[in-house]
Structures are given as C-alpha cells and as structure tokens.
Symmetry: C2
Subunit: 180 residues, 2 copies
C-alpha cells in the first residue's frame, strides 16, 4: 500500500468553512503524541527512514498506541513511502524495549488533529505544538502506477479548499519542529 500525502500551511477556520460548504464528513478529532526513535546501526536522518511510537487519544475513546516504520521515499513529490504499522498495548514498555535494543528517542511531536472525509481523500486539520497550523490531504493506493493520479486528485482537493498546492511543505512535522 502506498500513501499519498500533501501538506500546506493554512488558516484552519477558513478551511473548516470550505469543508462545510463541500459537505465533507467530519470523522472526529484526536490528540497525538509521536515519539521518534533513531537506530543504533544507521542514522535515519541519512537513510530517510522513521520509527515512530504514536499515542493517540480520540475525543470519544481511550488512548491507543501504535508503532510505525516508514521506509525511504518512493516518490519525492508526494512523500510516498512504504509503511508498516501495528497496535501495541503499552507505550512505556515499548520505549523500554526500543531503548534496550539501542534505539534512542530523538523528539516528540504533539498535535491536535481534526479529520474529515472528502470523496476518497482524508483531510486533516493539524495544530502542531511549537510548529503551527497545517492541512494534510491524503489517500492510499495499492499500486505504484496509481500514484500520479492520486497526487493530482490531492492537489485538486487543496484547490477546492482554497489552498495552493504550490505552498506544499515537504518537511515532516518532526523536521519542522527540529528546525525551530
């Protein structure tokens, strides 16, 4: 499965109005804390990989934790990568296992996310602690040959939300946080 994801800085109130006009479905909101780890045997900043433990508290449920591995970029344009993710019971024990294996936590990104569904795309309004407000438009495709069409569709969604695809930020929130 390949993920297509485009992100631009945005005035979230204005985007919320456009989503209402477009009759997007509000999926809910969550508070996320993402801790990123670096490996003992290779530098993920160089290999362009990521290992993340995400604790997520939805507005209507209890906290859930997931671990995610993101491989190097397949497509520079849309930040497409191979991704493996599974739920885990306990973030603290996972941290103990990873640090025992020599992995080191490098940074924690905290954000409020509000998600909407618009056709086959998910639109996420993010308020990132210490970084700013952003809108992400994403979808998944099974085949690499469908990436180009999915990317064009994501740009189209941005335009309908009053946003400019040329404002696209390719730096991750982790990268933006580390730049501050």
């Amino acid at each position: 499965m390949y993920e297509v994801e485009v992100k631009v800085p945005a005035d979230l109130e204005a985007v919320r109005d456009r989503l209402e006009t477009l009759e997007a479905t509000r999926l809910g909101s969550v508070v996320q804390a993402d801790t990123y780890y670096n490996a003992p045997h290779r530098d993920f900043a160089e290999t362009d990989e990521a290992l993340r433990v995400r604790s997520e508290r939805p507005d209507d449920s209890t906290e859930k934790t997931r671990v995610t591995y993101k491989g190097p970029l397949v497509d520079e344009e849309t930040k497409t990568r191979e991704e493996f993710e599974t739920g885990i019971e306990d973030a603290e024990t996972t941290d103990a296992i990873l640090t025992s294996l020599g992995f080191e936590p490098t940074a924690t990104v905290r954000k409020d996310r509000e998600r909407f569904s618009l056709e086959e795309y998910t639109v996420t309004l993010d308020t990132v602690d210490g970084v700013g407000d952003y809108v992400e438009v994403e979808t998944e495709v099974a085949d690499e040959s469908d990436l180009e069409g999915a990317r064009e569709g994501a740009y189209d969604v941005l335009e309908r939300l009053g946003l400019d695809p040329d404002d696209q930020i390719r730096t991750s929130y982790l990268g933006l946080l580390l730049e501050t």
Copy 2:
C-alpha cells in the same frame, strides 16, 4: 521485576499426578509459537539478549501476540534477566517492521504448555516440538535481594514434584532446538 525460572526434563504424566496430589490449581493450556530475532548491530548469541515475538493461542480464547526483550543474565544459576514485554496487535506486521529495521528471524520454537499454580510459583508442563518434555518452575520478585530465597523455593517445588534440581537445564528451548 526479576524472573526466577528453573527447568528440568520430566515425565509429564508423573508430574501431573503429583500436581493433583499437591492440589495445584490448573491455570489452562496454550499453544505457543515463538520467533526469535537477531539484531543487525550486535549478535544476541554473544550479548546474551533475546528479542522474541510470541503468538499464543489459549485453549479458551483467541490468539494473542506479544513482543518481549530479554536482557543479559543477572544470575547464571536461575537464568534471571530483566524482561520487557507488551502486547501487539499483529505478528505479521511486527515481523515486517523488525525485518525492515534489519533484524532477522533466527528460529521459531513451537510448544504446548499446560500451566499450574502452586503457592507463589507457576509450574509449566512443556511439550516442545523437536526438543522434548520439560517442567518449568517460575516466579517473579521485585527486588534482586529476594532472588536467592525465590530460587531455593523453586528447587523445593521441583523436589515436591518428584524432580531433581540437579537435572536443571540452563539452555533455552531455542538453544536446545538449535543444538538438535
């Protein structure tokens, strides 16, 4: 938390009879498949660590998967180690994450386990595919200073089960499997 664990080869039918006489509580039985991984940056055979993904199907429930890190031995005598373990949603995805990070599966140990509780000890009757039949007696202590007493208690349990603490096998099932 420190784990005290002693293991001896045994005639499981005879031990089952003794457990009944001692009025031990039968806790249930499970089928376990343990996959062990080696690290890309150090050889766990040399550092005496272990990283294990265990899929367990209890006789009365659905399959559960857990990931466990075991640190080097703290006490040679009883195989005491520091251990971190947490539940995970999906074994296959965990395998994909670990192999992407450069970890390699080295072996899979499959066994049927029947567990009993006898005072503060857990007695496990193991039938290990390709290895043989064993009894494990284990308990946990919070403090390292309680290890000696817990170990003596484990030997005492073995004797009451008609087993000889001198038959203790310090090699793991993984080790025994790799020796075959």
